[in-house]
Structure formats: C-alpha cells, structure tokens
Amino acid sequence: MSRFGFGKWLLPVYGIIAFTFLLIPIAYTIVFSFNDSVKSNISWRGFTFDKWLTVCQVENGSVCEAFGNSVIIGIIATVLATTLGTMIAIALVRYRFGARGAVSLLLFLPMATPEVVLGAGLASQFLAAGVPKDMTTIIIAHTMFCISFVVVTVKARVASIDPTLEEAGRDLYGSPLQVFWRITFPLLFPGILAAALLSFALSFDDFIITNFNSGSVQTFPKYVYISAARGIPAAANVIASAVFLFAIIFVLVVQFSRAARAKALAKH
C-alpha cells in the first residue's frame, strides 16, 4: 500500500492536523458555553455550569423560544419532505415514465440554486400573492429545499432492494399496500431515516432562506444572526453545544453499529 503516493506517515499526520482544524470552532463553541460571561460572550471569564442551567431564562427565554420554533419547523418540514421525496425516489428507480429528464432536472435544480435565490424567489412570490410571512411560509420553504436531498438519499436505497422479495409478497396474495408496508418500507427504512435526519439537519441550521421568508418569527439561526451585532449570550452556545453532542452521539452509534456489523459479516 505504501508504494502509492504520499509516503507512509505524511498522510496520517496531515489527517490529524486537518481534523484538528475542522474541530477548532466546535471546541471553541462548546468551551464558551461554560464561560461565566456577563453580556457578550467574547473573553474568557471563568468556568461555570450556570449558563446550561439558566438557558431558558436568558432574555425572557427568547433563545429557547427560537430553538423551539426551529425544532417544530424542522420536524414538520422533515415529515413533508421525506414523504414527498421517498415517493419520487421509488418512482424514479422502479417505473418508466415520460418526461424523465424533466423530472430529474426539476430535482437537480434546487440543489444547484444558491440559497439566496431560493429565498428571494419564494419571498417575492409570497409578496406578489399577498401571503403574510410566518411559521407556515418557513415550513413551505424548508420542505422545498429538502425534497431533492431526500430523493438523492433514498434513491440509492431503493436501487439496492431485491425486487424478488416484493414479488414473493405478491405471490402470497399480499395486497399492494401490505407488500409496501410489510416488505418495501422496512427494507427502505435505513435510507428513509438517513434522509429524514439530513432534512432535519438542513432545516434546523438554515438561515439564508429562512431570513427571507420568516417575517417576525425567530428561529435559532436567525436569533444568532440578529444578536451577532450586539454580542451573543452564552445561552446560544449552550443550545448549539447540546444539539451537537446529541447529534454526534447518535451518528457515532449508528456508524459503529454499521462498522461492527460489516466486520461480523466479513468474519463469516
């Protein structure tokens, strides 16, 4: 192996440096969630757990409220986008239909469009139609940009399902719905779960499109953006750190159980 490229040690050493670099702002954000700061959370003033315990009391709970809005929007947009996207993914892999190229293009374009254009476009449509901006318009926007990512993620999974399993179900007189819920859906589930997690992550962290379509509704990223000018309270770091730790533990468990399973399979 060491014959190829870069030398034996150079690459691993580079890897360590690169990962450290990638993780620096994360470590910084987490460390400063424990900072005994007063107003703005810029210089280190000592260690405290207080910010974690009083996170919902800061600024009359506005940080927590913004976080709550982000979670609600994320969940609804995820359910909508995952449902619509999974249906499209199944159709793309399993069926023949006209205008296939047009559908592919329609799915690809939202991913190739800068967020600021998606945001301004929807906002100008809502403006022209006289729709007031609120939670609903944010959910509409988030669902829109999540669909394509769901299709990409689920498509790979649909393509990996052996169709003879579904045929067997039909041969045993299963109705189309029974075949879907008892065979197709369980087999698709890992892909659907990955797509749902991706949608939620995209929605939860979206700022640019949200900023154009939210009116006076606060989401967590919008709260951070607005407070950036006057100094961000440590409560924001607490919430970001909590979300990070939750997500990273979840993903690590999924990854390691996958790797362990692959290892166990390789042994047989």
């Binding site: 190829f4 399993r94 600021v116 301004a120």
Partner: protein, 303 residues
Amino acid sequence: MAFAAFTAADVVVRTPRKKSPVALLLLLPGVLYLVLFFLAPLVSLFFTALQVPHLDGDIGQYDYGFNWANYTDVIRMYLPHILRSFGYAIIATVIALLFSYPLAYLIGVKARSRPMLQGLMLVLVIAPFFISFLLRTLAWKQILADESLIITSLKALSLLAPDAHFTGTPAAVIFGLAYNFIPFMTLPLYTSLERLDLRYLEAGSDLYANPFTVFRKITVPLSMPGIIAGTLLTFIPAAGDYVNASKDFLGAPDTQMIGNVIETNFLVLQNYPAAAALSIILMAVILIIVGVYVKRLGTEDLL
C-alpha cells in the same frame, strides 16, 4: 449529501423498470410541490426584476412592467460585488479542494481496511454540520480577532505586521467560505476515492510510472466525478453566501458579496426589482457553469 455518503455503499440491484399509472401518483405530489414553490418563485423573480416604481408610491411599491434597465442599473451599481462573489467563491473552492483531496484519500483509500476508523473519520468530517453554521463562523471571528492569541503571537513573532488585521479582510471571508463548505467537498471526493480500484495504481507503477505520474494520470481522472460534484457543491453556496462576508461575521463593508446586496435590497431597502435582478444574474451565471458540468456528466449522475 452528508448522509447520502453513508448509503452510497449499498449494492445496486438492477431491475427492469415498469410502466404503470402508479408512477404518476408517486411523482405528482412532489413534482407539483416543486413546481409551485421552486419553479413559480423563479418566474415571479423574473417578473419582479422587470418592475417599475409605482408613481407617487411609497418605498417598496412597484408595478409590473418591462423595465429591462433594472439589469443594467444593478450591473452598473454592483459590478464589484458580482465580480468579488465569484472571485471569492473560486478561490475558496480551490482551497477547499486542496485541503480535502488528501483528507478524502486518507479516508477513502488508506483507511479502507479499517472500517471503524473510516467511520469515525467520516463522522469527524461532517461534525461541523452539527454545530450552528453561524456560531462556528463567529467562533472563527473570535479565534482570529486582533486581540486573540493566534494573531497576537503572529505579531510577536513578526510574522504579521503590528497594525495588521485578519477579520474584516477579503482573506478572512475566503477563509470562512472555504472552512464552512469543506464537508461538501470532502464527502463526494471520498465517495469517488472509496471506489478507486487500487490495481490500476499498481499497474501504473509496474509500468515504471513514478508516484506523481500515477496520481496525475490515474487517481485524478478516476476521481473526476467526485472533484466535479465537490467543486459544484462548494462553489454554488459560496458564491451566494452572505453570512461570512457580513460585517458582523468575518467581513467588512468593503467585502460585501452579491448575497449581501440582495439581502439589503430585499429586506432593508425594499428595492425588490434590484434584488430580483441580482438574483437572476447570480442564478444565470451559476446555471451556465452547472450546464457545462451537466453536459459532461448528465443530471442522473449528478443526483
């Protein structure tokens, strides 16, 4: 994209595709949704860009018209911002590619025999996604502020002029753009390099090619789909970004990009036609670039 990389290893079972009305039922809701909330807004943007100010109207009141001069006006006013956006985005994309390629090679090729380590490294690559985009950008702003440890030490070592700043400069904005979109670059590169058949490299060196030639003539061409996908996924959001360049983050008034101008015109000045015209220009330039790529690959492969 992040999670797509995890499922990419699934085995593909080729099945003959059927023709059935079920396909239509499956497609219709999602396609209709995208037509209503993706295509229609683009059309609305197109017509907004041609609006004329309402006679004796308040700020933000416009009538539909065909005022093509809006385009020449915004180009005249904001040409530096437009050029700056694409300039910054190109440099940031190149930096992200140079940073990510060895990393993706390490994960996709060197760590192939160790699935646990490979999984851990993939999680580390996407870890920045799990912490707020805005907060990690602000973290860099504080880590690299004038009074920070890094900048003061660099000044003490005379590696930086005593009166030099980092935050608020074009370099800081480009740095932020590159950092924030590195995972979008690394993951597609990893997916490509994961599939690289090492026997080709062996054949190359058996034929007395030196490691550099093997890399240039075999590894790079075989990982081209990853390079193309990664550069697109980095360049597009970088060109339209306005967080990094904002003065409250890593930028200053003279680093404003096209995204900042669109935001200000739409949300602050309520000059909707200008914001719409700039959006159409941004979209058009990106579509031309994407079009060149799609011509090479086809949309099915990019999806």
